[in-house]
Amino acid sequence: MQTVTATLQALARGEVSSRELTADVLQRIERLDPLVRAFLTVTPEAALAAADEADRRRAAARRTGEPLPPLLGLPIAVKDVLSTRGIRTTCGSRILENYIPPFDATAVARLKAAGVVIVGKTNTDEFAMGSSTENSAYGVTHNPWDLERVPGGSSGGSAAAVAARMVPAALGTDTGGSVRQPASFCGVTGLKPTYGRVSRYGLIAYGSSLDTVGVLTQTAEDAALFLHLMAGQDPLDATSMDVPVPPPTLQRREDFRGLRIGVPREYFTEGIQPEVAAAVRAALDLMADLGATIREISLPHTEYAVPVYYLIAPAEASANLARFDGIRYGPREEAETMWGVFYRTRGRLFGPEVKRRIMLGTYALSAGYYDAYYGQAQKVRTLIKRDFERAFEEVDMIAAPVAPSTAFRIGEHTGDPLSMYLEDVFTLPANLAGVPGVSFPVGFDDISLPIGLQLMGPHFREDLILEAAHLYQQATDWHHHQPDPTEDEE
């Protein structure tokens, strides 16, 4: 499976048809997904029909000269928390086991208008709450680099599908690192846009002040094209901002000259795996060789990101998930009264992590505790946001590791939720501050697991961080390494 850019060129030149491409994608899914388990739903018939339609359109355009949409015939996968009209959308939860959305998420609708062929929906931690996909009600996704390890999460299905080259691109969502961390664990490129850049309409809400729609691809160049097509104001999401949409292609600076990159000392703590720190440092050395000015900076409130996030996100989740009550969608656990239906449906059909976060958020918002927990967390969020504002007065972007370690073993953290939460320490600050981030591969540890680096930029400066990631990818080939999931088979 080639990159998006290469695939689109092959389609445009007539070297391959969308049907051939889609059939190839479906075949790869059939062969590899029993091992990786990236997909919750695959839609072969609808995908092939959409591919045939794309091929017809392209053939007709050769005669008429009609302009074609930019992604015409490109197969992609979509994380199962994004609504897809007519395609089951479970959020990795039993409470939405059979839910068929009557509408498309705006990001999905815009990509469909741009011509994509949706081949299926990818696995996720239930309602995107998790860092490993182990919280999915439908089983864990396996990291294609080592099937005994997690792919990260919550967009672990999308990251694994792109890493195993089942699809050239997959949509994800990032509330606390859920695009960037699985991208890092799976050795792919993952973009989390600025909060407000891409409409959240149809993204089934987890933490509304933090949720963003992003994309996982092989390259920064591909992510830039997707961002261009998904971004922009939407009347259906009042938080989507009316700001100029970033360009479809990167400006192609020659090198890093003139770019100032800040490295926050708080991200190189004692707990970090030495190979991760070394690979990130080596990537920064290369950027310096290519002309970047690297400067140590401080984001002094970094250590508070985990406690702030694990109050604010659960508080927002406890309100957002109140809608799941067995009345309008999902299976119902019967009881004598309406209240009984609510308690029983929610108690039995939400998984353990979702219930944990709903309870945590309910507590943080409850009478007598609101000021001490939720109120205080919102104030400390201001301090974290100000750390970034100050940093961006000195530097153009911030570079940091994505996670303290490479992909951990399945089951390593499942007994101890707090230890899992601490895995998010490097990704949460960008969500709390609302800034964009891109994660991309910069090496491997000594057991051949990918290591990622993230660049974070000022609000609405995805162009800067994507361009820097692109320059790095022009000079290296880490992003071209691919796993062979069949290797582990006996």
Binding site: Y195, T239, V308, R328, M338, R346, R381, P417, Y421
Partner: protein, 98 residues
Amino acid sequence: MALTREEVIHIAQLARLELTEEEIARYREQLSDVLDYVARLQGLDTRDIPPTASVLPPRTVLREDEPRPGLPREEVLANAAETEAGQFKVPPVFGERG
């Protein structure tokens, strides 16, 4: 801070979650761990710091008040456990099913 069993039950009631005895015991321990951990925020002086509810500049988004079609009723109702006469059907709010 350690939550009591009664506090866990109270939170579950506020959140409309039916829990088993085993879940009550487990959440009591796990939520207490997390609350202990987040308590480190209490040490920060935030007297003059405004809260952040959204990272976006505060603004009001308006649109013309024009009617437009809603979602297709049949597709919406198709997801419900119980419907009647083109509407969602809710179990009795008070008392038992008649």
